[in-house]
Subunit: 500 residues, 2 copies
């Protein structure tokens, strides 16, 4: 019965690591939402100390020994049992973490933090040249990181694997190759440049807040949730019973009101909240991967939150909350505006149709940067050329071009594709959900989200990180990533946008 | 030059421990101010993990070895240098921490947490009998704790020492014996039972908040401070540059408005904020002791915040913030009310005159409980008898008697006297400050607090925990605890309360 003792020992160690990581999450949330600015310098040191303690405890060889000893026990269990999954996923995480020397991890953490600061300054000054040496060093560190692993089928696999464990670049390419021409075709068909007066009208913060809280509660965010203002909205959780959503309250930009970011973050939050309580304080107690997480934020924000049914329910509330802005604006005009397709320069401002093209651009360029095929000196030009080919509009400067996103500044290569995979998967999961909840649209139109939330929780959220993204998707929809439901969804959306 | 390496090693270890302790403080603040209720169970585990990591790292024998090796270096330095103080204070803390077996520390932490829950229930139900077994066990654990140390001059010394390092029970007794009869005499002279209508008028929360922020800024709380609402106000800090005040907003009780609790917590906060930045991330980067901390909360709340000069400045603002409550109420009537002496049953509601008697009662009873002279079964009767002797009013039940405070529930024996020592010391420091800032009262009357704040910072706050409470007081006022300035202060206060 040594496995009982070993399993208890492993669980105890992992629970303590989960506690430290939760403490990091609390300090991170506090820093972005609550902390007085002068606290930043000491907070960075506190976070760095917690990170190095958690890391050191995880790569402890004793964890490797326990995992070895527990291998036969795991194999004796059903594949999807909590214990087998814990041992299997921890083994994968541990093998990955122990392959990277602590010295390299520390160098990357320090560099990414400093490079992010350099990026902030470079973007503010539209000064790519000042950022280029930092990007060079990031690419060197990425190469050293990649050398820690066996070469995959594709040199990009190792970077993607950080965010989508075991997903292959070839699969992403298959999906993106299929959708790219359709997105370009739909963009040409639907793009409009007009601005409605109510887009820039005044939306008072306090009423945004009331509507946002009403929405998150309607979606199923219970008393384990908080909603607070911040600069760049995000979601974090400190346990399945303590979920923090954040939002922002632009008062003169309909698209920047808290309504959309709250629906987005609520999707992330409902996923974290719905993980099985049996997985609490283990490495499995979070959403499965970035793409699956994003599939849920997009499902709640876009598939539900920008649907005709949703606005038939919610527009009257919106109108009575913001009469100065929306009196006399018909619902269908409002609907077409919140779904309007535009050749935006900026990813985070992009609509559902062009969004994927922004990602495909980055996916292509970051592979070329990593392979050395694209020298960093040529990035701005390459960005501009490819952007114009894909989206059809010229890029006036680097601030609105290759400097717009924090990701490369922070060393996150391999992250971008997960956003678009999330979009693709959201439509796939929604199509599957409609088989079981055929009247979902009618329910949305009544403001009833419980059946939808319950289905998602029972089919996806509850699984946490027990399975790989591919295994998880297989369990939820019965197959691999399939772009067809997404393309059908987008075509149907564009059809609703034609002038009446 | 081994000492350089040893000192750097010691400082690195202590900085990491300080980081973990700051993380504990962030999680603690979040729990009381921000956390959704369902997060409580996991939060307790997160805090317990951080506590045991910090504890294990501190009692590491390697720290003892470094301290031994650094002893000659410390002796070669001026006593008040930062390095000598760091080595000296850490030695004292380490010796104390390593004398208590980890098993006993853990047992106390677990028991105190559970006993606090039992106390909450017992108080709610006015059911002392249900709490008594928990108190018995607390006393057993206190006895085991005391056995870890050399016997002091007085068996109570070891308990007091947790909160006032190296202060002796005999000294507390000397001070309390001197003040007790005067407090009783002043209570007899000044106690009134009338309630003014404006005491229970309506004070809207938003206006309390505006005044409280104005006050804390006027006192010198800069952009490193936050003020948030909570149930039981407290102050905490995560570095000298990140200080969190909390307050509460009773809307139908003048004494429970945020005005007084904000001034109180601001005093604690200014102390933490004023510690020398050179002590950041060391065990010295906090206030010196509970009594010295309390001396500052009381100085700002009472000596300043209940003074005639203060209300000459602030009453017009108060009146215009709360016209419904205070229109037509003359300033002197208001002043007499916020300083009114009452035979209150509850310590936290007590005025400046009777407060000390509440503490003396607890100081006496907890010594008798610890020595076994007072069986726990007899506590309620002993409380009632002694309360009536000291304060002159009968105690109707245990909820308003021996169950009113959390301290014994949480195992904090030795804590109570520090509150009253804080009162005594606040008057002593104020008297000394007046020698250097003779027009302090005129400044207060103009709402000018900078000279006062600067004096306190430069003479006291900056020192942090470099010296013992006795040494610190010696540096600030030039001598030991002296009750005379406090008695003179109280006599003067009572004189101002006589009807005109």
């Amino acid at each position: 019965m040594g496995e009982n003792r070993d399993l208890a020992d492993l669980r105890r160690r992992l629970a303590e690591i989960a506690d430290i990581e939760s403490a990091e999450a609390v300090l991170g949330w506090d820093q972005l939402v609550m902390m007085p600015r002068p606290g930043a310098a000491t907070r960075a040191k506190q976070l760095s100390t917690l990170r190095s303690i958690a890391h050191a405890r995880f790569i402890d060889p004793e964890i490797g020994r326990l995992l070895d000893a527990l291998e036969p026990y795991a194999e004796s269990l059903p594949y999807d049992s909590d214990d087998a999954s814990l041992i299997r996923v921890t083994r994968r995480d541990w093998d990955k973490a122990t392959r990277v020397p602590t010295e390299l991890s520390a160098a990357m953490a320090r560099h990414n933090s400093e490079a992010t600061e350099a990026w902030v300054t470079a973007r503010a000054n539209d000064d790519y040249a000042s950022f280029r040496p930092w990007l060079e060093r990031t690419l060197e560190l990425r190469a050293r990181y990649a050398e820690c692993f066996e070469p995959g089928d594709d040199p990009y696999d190792v970077h993607l694997d950080q965010f989508e464990p075991e997903l292959k670049t070839a699969e992403v390419r298959r999906v993106f190759d299929r959708i790219r021409p359709v997105l370009q075709e739909l963009t040409s068909e639907a793009a409009r440049d007009d601005v409605e007066p109510f887009e820039t009208a005044f939306y008072p913060e306090d009423r945004q807040r009331e509507l946002s809280v009403e929405l998150m509660r309607a979606f199923g965010a219970d008393d384990a949730f908080r909603l607070d203002p911040t600069v760049h909205p995000f979601c974090t959780s400190f346990s399945t019973q303590d979920v923090r959503l954040t939002t922002r309250y632009a008062e003169n930009d309909l698209h920047g009101t808290s309504i959309f970011s709250t629906m987005h973050e609520a999707g992330h939050g409902l996923y974290e909240r719905g993980v099985s309580p049996a997985l609490e304080r283990t490495p499995l107690a979070h959403g499965c991967s970035m793409a699956l997480h994003e599939s849920q934020s997009r499902l709640w924000e876009n598939v539900i939150g920008r649907s005709p049914a949703f606005w038939r329910w919610f527009y009257p509330r919106m109108q009575s909350a913001f009469p100065e802005a929306l009196d006399g604006v018909p619902g269908d005009r409002f609907y077409r505006t919140v779904n309007g397709v535009r050749r935006s320069l900026v990813r985070v401002d992009a609509d559902e149709v062009t969004y994927g093209l922004h990602i495909i651009l980055r996916f292509e360029l970051e592979q070329r940067l990593l392979s050395g095929e694209l020298p960093t000196a040529d990035l701005p030009d390459a960005w501009g050329e490819r952007f114009e080919e894909l989206i059809g509009t010229p890029v006036p400067n680097d601030r609105l071009g290759c400097l717009q996103d924090v990701h490369w500044g922070g060393g996150s290569f391999g992250y971008f594709p997960t956003y678009q995979l999330g979009n693709v998967i959201s439509a796939q999961i929604w199509a599957r959900l409609l088989q079981d909840v055929p009247d979902a649209e009618e329910q949305i139109e009544r403001g009833a989200f419980e059946a939808i939330h319950t289905w998602l929780r029972d089919h996806l959220y509850v699984l946490g990180r027990k399975f790989t993204p591919t295994e998880t998707l297989e369990r939820v929809v019965g197959g691999p990533i399939d772009p067809e439901p997404y393309l059908a969804y987008l075509r149907a959306k564009v059809a609703t946008l034609r002038a009446p």
